[in-house]
Symmetry: D2
Subunit: 402 residues, 4 copies
C-alpha cells in the first residue's frame, strides 16, 4: 500500500500554490467507475462540461479540454496558432513566463522577452506600456502574438490583462493575445471575452481544486482562424478535430474520464457557491496572509500592491537565511508544505498558497507553522503574523452582508 506521509497522525497541510488541496467531494466523484467514452452517457457529460467550463473563463467561445497537464496547454496554444520562425512578444514576470519563453524557442518560434531591469520583473506585473511601445515599433506586424502570464505562480503577482489588451489596441496591432492563467483561473478575476484574449491557457490543479492532469485552451474566433494557416506540425493538440468531436460531447481520442468526473464536480461546487464569492474569498485570504507578513516585518515578493496575487504570497527571507532550509524544517516539524523559491528566487523566498479548498483556520494553521518554523530557525520577526491574520479574519467576515 502506498504510504505518503511519515508524520504519525493528522492531515498534511498542502499550502503550495498548486496543486491545491482536493476536496473530498471531488475525490469521491473521481472514484466513480470509468465508463465507455463513446457511449451515450459520456456524450451527455461532455456537453455539460463544455458548457459549464465557459462560465469559469467568462467566455461564450469554445474551451478545449486536454487530457494532459498544464504545460501541454502552453504548447497547444503556440502550436495551433503559429508557424516556424514566427516572432512573439513575451514578458518576464517570473519563472513560469521564463519557461514558456524557453518552450517557444524550443518549438522553433522566435520569442522576444521583455524585462524590467534586475529582479524588478519578478516583483512587478506585466508593463503594458512597454508592450505598447514595442508593438508601435513593429509596423510590418512581424510580431504574431503577445504572450503573458496572468497570475505568476513563482512570485505572487497578478498582472493587469485588460491593460495589455488596451496596449495592443492602442498600438493598432493585430497580434494575438495569449494569456497563461494556469494558477489564476477560478481564484483571481479573469475575463476571457471582455479582455479580448485570443487563447487562454489554464490547468486543473489550482483554483479548480482538481489533481493535475487536465488543461485548457479557451479560444477566440481570431485564434481559430489563425490556427487554419499556422504551420507548426500538430496532431494531438490540434484544435480542429477536438472542436469537431466536441460538438457531440466527445473527444477524437480517449479523454481522461475520471478526472472529467472531478471537473464536473468542481464546476458544480464553484457555480453553486458563485464565482464572485469564490473570488472574494481568495482576496480576503490574501489580505489576511499579507497582514501576517507585514506583522512579521518581512518583505512580500510582489512590490506593487495593485497586482498582489489573491492566490499566493511570496515571503522574502532576510539575506542570510536559506529559505529552503526553513521550508524543510517547517515540513518536518509541522507537516506543512510550502512552495519553494524558483529560478531567480531560489533559496530566497517561500510561497504560501491560499487557494482552493481552504478556510480561515487552514490559513491560521499555515501561518502558525511558518511563524514557529522561522522562530526555531532564528529568523528575526517583528511581531506575530498569526495574530495579525487572526485579527484580520475576525474583523472582516467573508459574508459581512449576508
Amino acid at each position: 500500500m502506498l504510504t505518503l506521509d511519515f508524520h504519525p497522525s493528522g492531515r498534511h497541510f498542502l499550502q503550495i500554490p498548486g496543486p491545491s488541496p482536493v476536496p473530498d467531494r471531488i475525490l469521491r466523484a473521481m472514484s466513480l467507475p470509468t465508463i465507455d467514452h463513446r457511449g451515450p452517457e459520456f456524450g451527455a457529460l461532455g456537453l455539460e462540461l463544455l458548457t459549464k467550463i465557459k462560465q469559469i473563463f467568462k467566455t461564450v467561445n469554445p474551451v478545449i479540454i486536454y487530457p494532459a497537464s498544464g504545460t501541454g496547454a502552453w504548447e497547444a496554444a503556440l502550436i495551433n496558432t503559429l508557424s516556424p520562425g514566427d516572432q512573439v512578444l513575451m514578458f518576464e514576470t517570473g519563472h513560469f513566463a521564463t519557461l514558456w519563453q524557453k518552450m517557444a524557442r524550443r518549438l522553433g518560434i522566435e520569442p522576444e522577452f521583455l524585462s524590467l531591469p534586475g529582479d524588478q520583473g519578478w516583483r512587478h506585473g506585466v508593463q503594458a506600456d512597454m508592450i505598447e511601445a514595442r508593438l508601435m515599433q513593429d509596423p510590418n506586424h512581424e510580431i504574431k502574438a503577445v504572450c503573458v502570464v496572468h497570475n505568476e505562480t513563482s512570485t505572487g503577482v497578478t498582472s493587469d490583462i485588460a491593460a495589455v489588451r488596451r496596449a495592443i489596441d492602442a498600438a493598432g496591432h493585430p497580434a494575438l493575445l495569449m494569456v497563461d492563467t494556469i494558477s489564476g483561473l477560478a481564484s483571481a478575476d479573469y475575463r476571457h471575452d471582455e479582455w479580448g484574449v485570443d487563447v487562454t491557457i489554464s490547468g486543473s490543479q489550482k483554483g479548480l481544486m482538481l489533481p493535475p492532469g487536465i488543461s485548457f485552451n479557451a479560444l477566440s474566433d481570431k485564434a481559430i482562424n489563425a490556427s487554419k494557416s499556422a504551420q507548426l506540425p500538430k496532431s494531438f493538440w490540434a484544435w480542429d478535430e477536438i472542436l469537431e468531436a466536441n460538438k457531440n460531447g466527445y473527444w477524437p481520442y480517449t479523454p481522461n474520464t475520471n478526472l472529467l468526473y472531478g471537473l464536473n464536480e468542481a464546476l458544480d461546487m464553484l457555480l453553486e457557491e458563485g464565482l464572485e464569492h469564490v473570488l472574494a474569498r481568495h482576496q480576503r485570504w490574501a489580505a489576511g496572509v499579507r497582514a501576517a507578513v507585514k506583522a512579521w516585518g518581512l518583505e512580500i515578493q510582489c512590490q506593487d500592491p495593485a497586482v498582489y496575487s489573491p492566490v499566493l504570497t511570496g515571503v522574502v527571507m532576510p539575506d542570510d537565511v536559506d529559505a529552503d532550509a526553513i521550508r524543510k524544517l517547517i515540513y518536518e516539524r509541522f507537516d506543512l508544505s510550502l512552495g519553494m523559491g524558483l529560478g531567480k528566487a531560489k533559496g530566497r523566498m517561500f510561497r504560501i498558497g491560499h487557494l482552493g479548498d481552504c478556510n480561515d483556520l487552514t490559513l491560521i494553521a499555515t501561518l502558525g507553522g511558518c511563524e514557529a518554523g522561522m522562530k526555531l530557525a532564528g529568523v528575526p520577526l517583528k511581531d506575530s503574523g498569526v495574530l495579525a491574520a487572526l485579527d484580520y479574519f475576525a474583523r472582516h467576515p467573508l459574508d459581512a452582508d449576508r
Copy 2:
C-alpha cells in the same frame, strides 16, 4: 446528495472529544465491498481483529466487539454480570458517570452514587479513598461491583484506575471493577490486566479514530464467572454465545462488517506507530492546549493537575458568558466544532478535543478559532493562547529523541 456543511470551502475542524476526525486511510478501508460474514475470509479477519484489539486494552483476556455504539457496551457490562436488585458503587465524575448510573437504575440495579460536595466531583477524579471507606462498611459484600469512568468526556478528567484497584484490594472486597474508558482508550494510558479491571467498556469513535458504531467489553475470568450466574435477562449482549463464535473469528449474528474493516485499519495504524508513541502524542497536545488556556487567563475545568486528561480540555467561561453562544459563533465564523458543556456544566464551558487524527497545526487552528471567537464575543483574555501553544509545540518536539 448529502450536503453536510454550509461553509463554502475547506475542511471542517471537528475538535469535539469524539467522534474524532476519521483518517482517510480508515474511511477508504471502510469503503471496501461488504463480504459474506460466514465465509472463510471473514473468519480470518475476525481472528486477526480479536487478537490485535487485545494489545490496545493491554490484556490477554477476551475482548467482546459489539456491532453497536458505546452506550450499548455500558448496558452489556451491567447486564452480563449483575442480577436484579444488585447493589453497585458508582462515582460521580461528570455527565457520563451520571448517565451510566441512571442506566443501572433503569435496568433494575441499585447504584449508590458517591460524590464530592457541590460541583467538585465534576472537577476532580475518582476519590479512591472514598471507595475504600465505603467498601469497608460492606462486610456482607452486598456491593457487587464498583463502576467508574476512566476518562470523563464531559469534564476532561482522567481518573487513577490503579488507585481504585488498590482501594478495593485494601478493603478486601470481592466486588467487580468495571471501568468506562470509552473516550480514553488509545489516547490515555490504560491497562486492563495490570490494573485488575474486570470489565472495561470502550467505543470506536474516540482514540480508535473510527466512526461510531462499534463498542467493546474487555473481560476478566472473574467477570466471565460472574456472567454465568447473573440473572438480568440478556441475549443480544450475552457474552457466552459471542465468545463461542469468536473462537473461529465469527459472531453469532451479523457483525457490522465495514466498520470492522475500519477497525482493522485503525489497529494497524496504532500498532505501526506504537501505542506508547500514540499516548505521548496526546499528552503533548494536551500540554500545549493547557498552555493556551493558561495564557488566556481562563480556568480549566479539571482542578487537579494529576488527572488532567490527555484527550480533551474543558475551558470554563467567565460567569456572565454563555459558552454555547461562543461555540455557535465559532462554528459559524470559523467552521470549527467544539464540545458543549453537558449536564451540570451546561452553558458554562466548552470542551476542546485533542485526540486521534490531529497534528500540531490542527490544534493551532483550533485554538486560533477559539481565541478569535472569544475576542469577537468580548470575553476578556489575558494573553494569546495560540502563541503560547505554538511556543510549547515548538519547544517540545514530539520525537525529541529520534
Copy 3:
C-alpha cells in the same frame, strides 16, 4: 492493508441473501467525514432520515433507528413491549424464526412455537388459520403478542402478513402483532400500517443495500402504549428516550453517523427509483431464478408458489449431495458466494440471493456459476438453468410499458 479476496482479479459476486452488494454510491456516501452528532447539520440529517424511512415501511408512525445490527432490533421489540413471563405466540418458518423464539425464551418470555409437522414449516409460510385457532383458545388473553417472520431468509418463503392480521382480528384478540422483515424490507411488498403491524423489525444489510450495523423498529400507537407498562428491564433499546430525542433529529446517545450517511443515500436511491419499481424488479429476478431451478430439475425449498420469496431462492440438492461442498467449490472456482443451508436445512440446500444492487447479468453470472459448479460436482441437471433464466429475462423486460 486489508486483503479480502484470494481470487486474482475481478469483482466478487456476493449473492447471499444479505448482506447484499453495497452500491458504490452508498459506499462513497459512507466515506464522508464524521460530523458532530450534536451539531445543527446532524439534526437536519436526522429529521430527514426519520421522515424518509417511514415511506419504506409504509407507515406514518415513528420508526426507531438503532446503531446496532438486526438481532438487536429483535431484542428491542420484545423488551420494549413485554414483561417477564409473558406468553407470546411464534411460528416456525425456519432458522430465523427459531432463533427469535430462542431469544424470547432467553429474555424470560414464554414463547409458544407453532409448527407444521416434519420439515413442512420450513417449506411453507405462516399458517394464519393455526394462529387464529390458537388465539381462539386464549379467552383470557394470556398471549401478549404474535411474532412472525415475513421473509424467512433461511428458506425463501415470504409469509402473508395481512392474513395473520385477519386471523388475529377474527379471533378478536388484543395481542400485539410483531413482524420481522429484516430481509424483506425494500425488496418484498411490506405495509406496516395497512397490515396493522404493531412492531416491525428490520435491518440495513438487505434491501436497503447498506452494510450491516443499523436496525429498525417501526411502531404503532398500541405498541408505544404497551411499552409504558412493559416490565422487562431496558435502557439502550428503550423507545421513550429515543422518540423524545428524535423529535429534533438527534439520538440520546451517539448514533452511527457514517452508516446513517449511507442510509440517507439508500433512501434517496429507492425513492428516486420508486418503491413499486424496486419491488417489481425483485419479483422479476425471482421468477427468472426459479425458471433456472426448474430447468435444472431441482426442487425449490419453498413448496407453496403463493409465498415464493422475491428476495432469495433456496435450491434443494439431491439427497446424496453435500450442498456445502458445492458452495465451497463454486466459491473457489467462480468467486461467487452463495448462502448456506441453516439449521434443519444444513448441508441440504444453498440459497441464491437476488436482492438489492443487482441486475439481470449479475444473476446470469450467478446462475452460471451455480450450473458449472454443480456440473463439476456431478449433480445431475435436467437442462440449462442459465439459458432458462436468460430466456425469461429477455422475454420479460423490466419496464415493458415504459
Copy 4:
C-alpha cells in the same frame, strides 16, 4: 451530483476493449490526497514507479510516463525520433494503425502504409515478409522507422513483433522499430528488450486497469540517440528533460499525481499476481469467449488463429445485421457496453473486451447479454455461446497446477 447510468440498479458491465473496469483498490488509491510534486515523498514515489514499470515492459531501459492519454504517446514517439519529411513504414492492421498513420502525415512525416488486399489487413496480423521485402528495396535507408501495432484494438489481432524484428534484421536495415501496444501491455505477452523494440507506446486504461490519462514511451539507446538529432519541434513530449528529471523521481512539469497513485497500485497488483499469471488469465478468457462465438456459429474478425488477441474478440455480424443496433439493444436491456466496429468495420461487428479486472463470471454475464441481445434482434445463432464458454471455463481451471 453526477449520475452516470440510467439503469435502476446493479453494476454496469464495461466490456469494451478499454477503458477496462478499474478495480476498487485502484480507485481507492487514486483518492489519496494530492501531494507536493516537488516534495521528498513524491520523489520516492516517482523512483519506485519508474523502476516497477520496467518490469511490465520487460525492459531495463527507461520508460517515459506522460501525464496525457495514449494518443499523445504516439505523437511523442514520432516527434522525438523523426525529422520533417522522414519516411516511415507502417502497416495497416486496422483502425488504430490507420489513425497513427494519419497522425504521422499530419506531423509532416511521410508514412508508407503497407496493406493486404481488401479487408484482409483488418483480419490478419502484420505481415513481416512484406516489411522485409520493402526494406530490401531501400538500400539508401530512406526509411527511418517501422511502425506497427501490436494488439490492434479495432480487430482483435495481436501481431508477431518478434517476426517484425527478424524481418528488419534480415533486411540489414537500420530503421527504428516502434510498436504501439496501448491495448496489449499487461494483457498480451510483450517483450520490449528481447524483441529489440526501439520505442514502445502504451497507455493506462487497458491492461493496467487505470482510468485513461497516463501514457508511456519505453525507449532503447538507439531511440535516445535518434532523438538527439531529430528535427521535429518538441517540448512537452521531449524525452531529454524528462529523463533528466526522472533521475530523482521528478518530472520537469506537474505530473498527474493521483493517476500515478493508481499506477503504483496497479503495478503492485500485477507484480503480486505475477505477470505470467496475468497473461495466462487473459489467454484463457479469450479461449472461452472464442468458444462462445464458435458455438453461436458466428465469425471471429481475426482470421488467423496464430494471432488471436487475448485482450478482445471481434464478433462479425451476418451481412444484413446492423451491429450498432445490436449493441444499443444490449446496452439498454442488459446494462452492458460492448466495443463498436470502427473504421472499415463500422456497423459490421462488435468487440468484446476480456481484459483487466474481470473473472469468469463477468465474461459469462457478458456472453449472456450478447446472446440474449442477438436473439431478441433475430440474429440466427447455431448454439448457446454462454454454455460453450461456461463449459470451457469449467474444464480449464485457471490454476490447474496450483
